[in-house]
Amino acid sequence: MDLGGFQPINKWLDEETFVELYGEAALGWCAIDGEIYGTPQDSGAMAMFYRKDLFDQYGLTVPETREEFIEQAKKFKKADPDLKFYAAPIGYSIWWLGQIWQAGGKVFDYYDGNWYVDFTNPVAEKVFATWGEWFDEGLIDLEMWWNADWYNSLNQGTTAVVELGCWFSEWLRYNAPDSEGKWRLAIPPQWDPAQPHNGIIGGSGFYVTTHSKNPEATAIFVNWLNSHPDSLKCLHNYSNLPIMVSTRYKEVIDEVAGPDAFFGGQRIADVLWEAHQLVNTTFVALPIMSNVDQSLSLLLQDYADGKIKRFADILSMWEKEVINTMKEFGYSNLITGELP
C-alpha cells in the first residue's frame, strides 16, 4: 500500500461499510491513513492442528492455555522422546509475528504518517522468552518448514502439533495424505484465558492498482468478490479456503461447511470461524516484509546453530536490522521504541 501501487477506493467503499462487511481488524490489512485500498479475502486466523491419534495414544488432552500446552509437551516427550510434540519454524517470520499477535501484541505499526517499530515491548518479550525456555528445555524443536523434510514429518506422524493459519487445512490435505482422518483442529492455546486473542498468519486480500483503467468497476467488483454470499460460496467451493474474512460469510457457512473427512468428521469451519472471530487486534505490516523475514531467518538459524545463547535476545537484534533496512530503503518517517 505504501509503495504507490494501489489507489484508494473510499469513494466506492467508505470506512463504515468496510467495517460492517469485514470487521474493524481488517482495516489494518487494507487501509493506511484512512485510505482504503482493497478488501480482504480469506482469513489466516491461527488454529492449532493436532494429531488426535497421537494424543489418544499418549493420553494427552487438548490444551486451552499455554500452561496446559507445555504440560502436554512434557508428557509427550517423556512418553516418546523420538517424536516431536511441536516444531517452530526457522524463519517464516509471519508465524512468529502471528505468535506475538495471538498473545495480543505487535512489534510494528503505522499511524498518522509514521512507521512505528518496537520489538522489545513486554508482550513480544514475554512470548519470545517463553518459547526460549521451551527450546532450552528441549520440549519444542526448531526446524525449517515448507520443505520435503517437514511435510514428511507431518505425513508420517512424527510431529504432533502445528499452529498455522486456517488455510493450512488445505495444505495438510494435499501434502500429508497418509495422515487422513488423524488430524483435528482447535483454537490455539491462550496466554491469558481471561483475555482471549488470536493472530493471523497469511490470508489474502484484493486491491485496486493505480494502473486500473476503471477503478470504480474494480472497486465494486473487489467488494462484491469478498463480501457477497454468492461469491463467498464460490470462493470456498473452488479454492477450498475454509474461512473468509467477511462478516457475511456466516450467512453461508452452514451451507458450505460440513463434516470434513480429512479431519475425522470434525466441522472445521465452525472451529476456524470461531478462531477468526478471536482476532481482535490488528496492525499494519512494514513495507519491507521480505527483509524482515530474511533478518529473522538468519537469526533463528544462528540460534539453532548455537551462536545465540538467549532466545529472547533475538528480538533486539531483529529490531536493529529492521530499523537499519527501513533507513536504507529511505524511510525517514520512522519512530522507534514505541507503538501507537
Binding site: 526457522i90 520435503a148 521480505s290 527483509n291 529511505g330
Partner: protein, 308 residues
C-alpha cells in the same frame, strides 16, 4: 588509356559487387541467429542498462544517473557475496579440470566400445537441468530423507547433520563435480584424440610411462582447450545460482550467499529492480574482465612457451 582505366574501374566494380553479394548472403544465413540474439540478449541488456540508471521505490522510478553504481561500490553485502564464487574459482574449477583430465586420459586408454559407454553415462549428469539437479541433491543431503543417513548413522556419526551452512561449500563442490566432470572430460578427450600419435610414440621409445607422457607431453598440447574450459567454468562459478538456491530450501542461507542470489533477491523479493539491474551489469563486467585477464595471460604464456 582511357579504356584501360574504365576497364580497371569496371573490374573493381565487379569485385565490389561480388563482395557485396557475398556479404548479403552471409547476413541472410546469420539472420535467424541475429534476430533471436538481438531479441533475447541485446534488447534485455540494453533495457537493463536503462533500468540501472534509475532509482526506484515501489511503482515509482526516477532518473538518477550512475547513483546506483556508486551505492553498489559501497554495498558490503554485494562484495561479500563473492566469497562463494572465490571458493569455487580457487578450489572447484582446478579440481574439476584435474579430475576431468584424469578421466579423459582413462577414456583414451579404454577400448572403443567400453570407452563410449563410460563417456555416455558420465555425460548424462550434464543433461539434467541445474534446478532439477539441485532439487534431487537436496533430497540426498537432507537429514530426514537421505539414503545415506542410515549408512552415516551406522558409522557412528548419527549426531552430525549433513546439510548445514558450514558444510554447504563442500556439498556444492560435490554437486558441481558430479554434474560437469563428464562433459569437461568429453571435451578434453575430443582434443586428446586429435593429438598426432607420433608424439606419444616417440616419448614411449624414449622410455616414458603412460602418465609421464600424459602430463609432460599431452597436457601442454591441450593448453588451448584447458584454458577455454577454465574460462567456461570460471564464468559458471562467478554466476553460480541454481545449486545454492535449491539447497537454500533446506538450510537458511543469507540473501547474499552468491552474487547471483543477491541480485535475484534484490529484484524479486525486495522489489529493487533498478538496483538489481545495476548489480547484474557489474557482475557481467567482472566476469568479462576476469575472462579477458585469463585469456591475456594464456596468450602471453603460449607466446613465450613457443620458444623452441
Amino acid at each position: 588509356m582511357k579504356s584501360e582505366m574504365t576497364m580497371g574501374r569496371m573490374r573493381n566494380k565487379k569485385k565490389m559487387g561480388k563482395k557485396m553479394i557475398a556479404s548479403i548472403k552471409a547476413y541472410l544465413f546469420l539472420a535467424p541467429f541475429l534476430l533471436f540474439f538481438s531479441a533475447m540478449v541485446i534488447y534485455p541488456i540494453s533495457l537493463g542498462v536503462k533500468l540501472s540508471l534509475y532509482g526506484q521505490r515501489g511503482a515509482r522510478m526516477w532518473y538518477i544517473g550512475f547513483q546506483n553504481f556508486v551505492t553498489i561500490f559501497q554495498d558490503a553485502k554485494f562484495w561479500e557475496s563473492f566469497r562463494i564464487p572465490l571458493f569455487l574459482l580457487t578450489i572447484q574449477v582446478p579440481l574439476l579440470l584435474f579430475c576431468a583430465l584424469l578421466v579423459a586420459f582413462l577414456y583414451e586408454r579404454m577400448q572403443k566400445h567400453r570407452g563410449a559407454f563410460y563417456r555416455f553415462i558420465y555425460y548424462l549428469p550434464n543433461t539434467i537441468p541445474g534446478i532439477v539437479t539441485g532439487l534431487i541433491w537436496s533430497y540426498i543431503f537432507s537429514d530426514s530423507m537421505s539414503p545415506f543417513r542410515s549408512v552415516i548413522d551406522s558409522l557412528g556419526f548419527s549426531g552430525i547433520k549433513i546439510l548445514t551452512r558450514q558444510h554447504l561449500p563442500l556439498i556444492l563442490l560435490v554437486i558441481i563435480l558430479w554434474a560437469f566432470t563428464g562433459y569437461t572430460a568429453f571435451v578434453i578427450y575430443s582434443s586428446l584424440i586429435s593429438i598426432p600419435k607420433e608424439f606419444s610414440e616417440q616419448a614411449q621409445l624414449d622410455g616414458a610411462t603412460f602418465w609421464q607422457i600424459a602430463f609432460k607431453v599431452k597436457i601442454p598440447l591441450l593448453k588451448g582447450v584447458i584454458i577455454t574450459l577454465f574460462i567456461f567454468n570460471a564464468i559458471g562459478a562467478i554466476q553460480v545460482f541454481n545449486e545454492p538456491w535449491m539447497l537454500g530450501a533446506l538450510v537458511v542461507l543469507p540473501s547474499n550467499y552468491t552474487p547471483a542470489m543477491y541480485i535475484y533477491r534484490s529484484a524479486f523479493s525486495e522489489g529493487r529492480f533498478t538496483y538489481a539491474a545495476a548489480m547484474g551489469l557489474i557482475l557481467a563486467f567482472i566476469t568479462f574482465l576476469f575472462s579477458l585477464y585469463i585469456l591475456r595471460r594464456a596468450a602471453k604464456q603460449m607466446l613465450t612457451g613457443e620458444s623452441r
